[in-house]
């Protein structure tokens, strides 16, 4: 694979990626991807409401507008592939297959949460599906994914590891260390940059003096750019890139996407141009997928059925989470180290 010459997103799927039946824009597959986006979107919209009501403690960082990246990349992974996520990780977690009950219970700080109410939004993890954790430290997931890829290779697995990071993390020195080591050792590591144009409260062009494409080229790592709001495009690009990573070593997939709700939920985004905010709806990954499904002849009733199933799942998960109890302090305190009886 070659580094793409154009910095602009390529909305057309890469050529010769997969047989026609498996292509993302086959109706069945696109409908499935649409379902994933709806699931992430509705889960986060539910969190917005519960956060406003004071039901969700702490900070949450929403991935609304970026869901196609999670859905598309994860569609190319198997259950044994591992991912390291970011502070904006709900989409990654849900798309990787975390149980929804445990996800909501964790966000509500319940004992039944995936992390038993000790981590919350920024630390959601599920080792059983290869989700090595959201992360409160920008860029930290890069080296965790590097190590995971190292383990896959040393233990003779065919699995790949995926490091998700935002364009804000382009300014972290650890990215250089990890790109270098991944290239040196030809690790099965995919770097997925969710480039939403913002580094916390500043546009990234005020923080980053280089293009990721050029940086990747410096390490001899192939770079692919894709419209991160077009789930079919992401899925096709990911299928091709993941296969290449499995066979040959590291790659960078840069997904150009949009951050809709600000850096954190509650961010009034006064620093943003209202016209830019207005334009976001045109790039809404849900609308783009729905439009494509209509073009493929999928009727609105099929989409409605998908949405209804999602609503049911979320309602059930929220109900279960709300019914949960607080975690026990002594049990938490006893679990800082592996308990002796487990040795």
């Amino acid at each position: 694979m070659k580094t793409k010459p154009s910095p602009k997103p390529s909305t057309t799927p890469p050529a010769a990626a997969a047989p026609e039946a498996e292509r993302a824009n086959s109706p069945a597959r696109l409908l499935e991807l649409y379902g994933q986006i709806v699931l992430i979107r509705r889960a986060e919209e539910r969190l917005i409401a519960m956060f406003a009501d004071g039901e969700v403690p702490g900070f949450i960082h929403l991935s609304i507008g970026q869901e196609a990246v999670s859905a598309g990349v994860m569609s190319a992974l198997t259950a044994t592939d591992t991912i390291a996520s970011t502070h904006r990780g709900h989409g990654h977690a849900i798309a990787k297959g975390l149980p929804l009950d445990g996800f909501f219970a964790e966000l509500l700080a319940r004992n039944a949460g995936l992390c038993r109410g000790r981590g919350g939004s920024m630390h959601v993890a599920d080792m059983s599906v290869g989700m090595l954790g959201a992360n409160g430290i920008v860029g930290a997931g890069l080296s965790i994914a590097l190590g995971s890829a190292l383990a896959h290779k040393r233990l003779g697995r065919t699995a790949v590891a995926v490091a998700f990071f935002g364009d804000g993390a382009l300014a972290e020195g650890l990215l250089h260390e990890c790109l270098n080591m991944a290239a040196l050792w030809r690790l099965p590591l995919l770097f997925v940059c969710e480039n939403n144009g913002w580094s916390e409260f500043l546009p990234s062009d005020k923080q980053i003096a280089f293009k990721l494409k050029d940086l990747a080229a410096a390490y001899g790592i192939p770079h692919t750019s894709v419209d991160g709001n077009d789930v079919a495009a992401v899925a096709d690009a990911a299928a091709e890139v993941v296969a290449a990573v499995r066979a040959h070593g590291p790659a960078v997939l840069e997904c150009l996407t949009t951050r809709v709700r600000g850096h954190f939920e509650g961010d009034a985004q006064k620093y943003r141009d209202p016209a830019d905010m207005q334009a976001l709806s045109e790039r809404d990954p849900l609308r783009i997928a729905a439009r494509e499904l209509a073009r493929l002849g999928i009727g609105e009733e099929s989409l409605e059925a998908v949405r209804a199933r999602v609503e049911e799942r979320i309602a059930a998960a929220v109900t279960a989470a709300r019914a949960g109890t607080d975690p026990d302090f002594m049990a938490a305190k006893a679990d800082v180290y592996t308990p002796a009886e487990a040795l």
Partner: protein, 324 residues
């Protein structure tokens, strides 16, 4: 009993762990082709191959972070950070990731990694190659910290650290690397969290770890000539530390001096002194004294450095002060 060097004991522990467990890997700067900058991993690449004993670029943050990720994905990584001073660069991986993964993921995972690193002065290595920073790591819930003082403990604690399901920082005093000591034919892992008595005594307890235990022994010999019999306790493990053993010794001697090469202020000694002042208050016949390095960077000049590192005279002086 045969004699081996401290460094050879580390080498043997690494080799035995690599032999016994196929998931153990050793990596770090110059650990493979060069066999380690101090030689701790010499010959291991030849025995176990470059897939299991491999060199990394000079990227401490990624070395430690990769160890966390590898440990979460089925390996038991043993990484070397060439000087403890360089662990400033691994703090996110150790403090925010390795230490917290088990807890913040609700017990789903543990991070069975080991970070080996040498501390200590005496080699004229200067302010950035001599520091004793173990208290930083001992302050972090989720990390374990051990500090061997002789070949037997260098082997035993490293084996225990590698077998441990949680992240362990193994701090080696580089001035001890060349030290020779008798070892049994069959070296064994030493359980983490247990102190040992190196010298029995009735008048004062000297609690120490690493190279400073030898300073304490020297001081004890001098004091014995004056009719004072100190008990010397080697902590071996700093997090967790053997509170029961320190309290038991204090209950026999009723006086306590805590000694380490690290800067005295805010150090391991402060924790031990505070704890014993609380739970051991009724046993104390004198104030608890601390002997550590002064609050200044480790100097380069031999004249300055030898004044900097706590001496046997300083330890004996502290004992005489609290006996007076």
């Amino acid at each position: 009993m045969p004699e081996i060097r401290y460094l050879a004991a580390i080498n043997r522990a690494l080799g035995d762990a690599l032999q016994d467990d196929p998931t153990v890997v050793v990596f770090g700067e110059d650990v493979s082709e060069a066999g380690g900058s101090f030689g701790a991993s010499r010959g291991l690449r030849e025995r176990f191959g470059a897939d299991r004993v491999f060199d990394t670029p000079i990227s401490e943050a990624a070395i430690a972070g990769a160890a966390v990720g590898a440990a979460l994905s089925g390996l038991r990584p043993v990484v070397e950070i060439m000087f403890m001073d360089f662990t400033t660069l691994v703090m996110d991986a150790m403090v925010n990731q390795a230490a917290k993964a088990r807890f913040m993921f609700g017990g789903q995972a543990s991070v069975p990694m080991v970070l080996r690193t040498p501390h200590g002065g005496g080699l004229g290595a200067g302010p950035q190659h001599s520091q004793c920073l173990e208290a930083w790591f001992a302050h972090i819930p989720g990390l374990k910290v051990v500090c061997p003082s002789d070949p037997v403990s260098a082997y035993g604690l490293l084996r225990a650290a590698i077998a441990d399901p949680d992240p362990v920082v193994v701090v080696e005093n580089k001035a001890l690397y060349a030290m020779k000591g008798e070892v049994p034919d069959q070296l064994e892992p030493m359980p983490i969290g247990h102190a040992r008595i190196l010298r029995e005594g009735r008048d004062v307890t000297l609690v120490s770890y690493g190279a400073a235990v030898h300073t304490c022994r020297k001081a004890a010999d001098r004091l014995a000539a004056e009719g004072v019999e100190p008990e010397v306790l080697d902590l071996l493990s700093l997090q967790p530390w053997d509170e029961a053993a320190v309290l038991a010794s204090l209950s026999r001697t009723h006086r306590l001096v805590v000694v380490h090469e690290a800067v005295e202020a805010f150090g391991i000694g402060a924790e031990i002194a505070a704890r014993m002042a609380d739970i051991g208050f009724d046993e104390l016949d004198a104030p608890i004294a601390r002997v550590g390095a002064p609050f200044m960077p480790v100097p380069f000049s031999k004249a300055l450095e030898s004044a900097y590192i706590p001496s046997a005279d300083a330890v004996a002086g502290a004992v005489r002060r609290i006996l007076a």
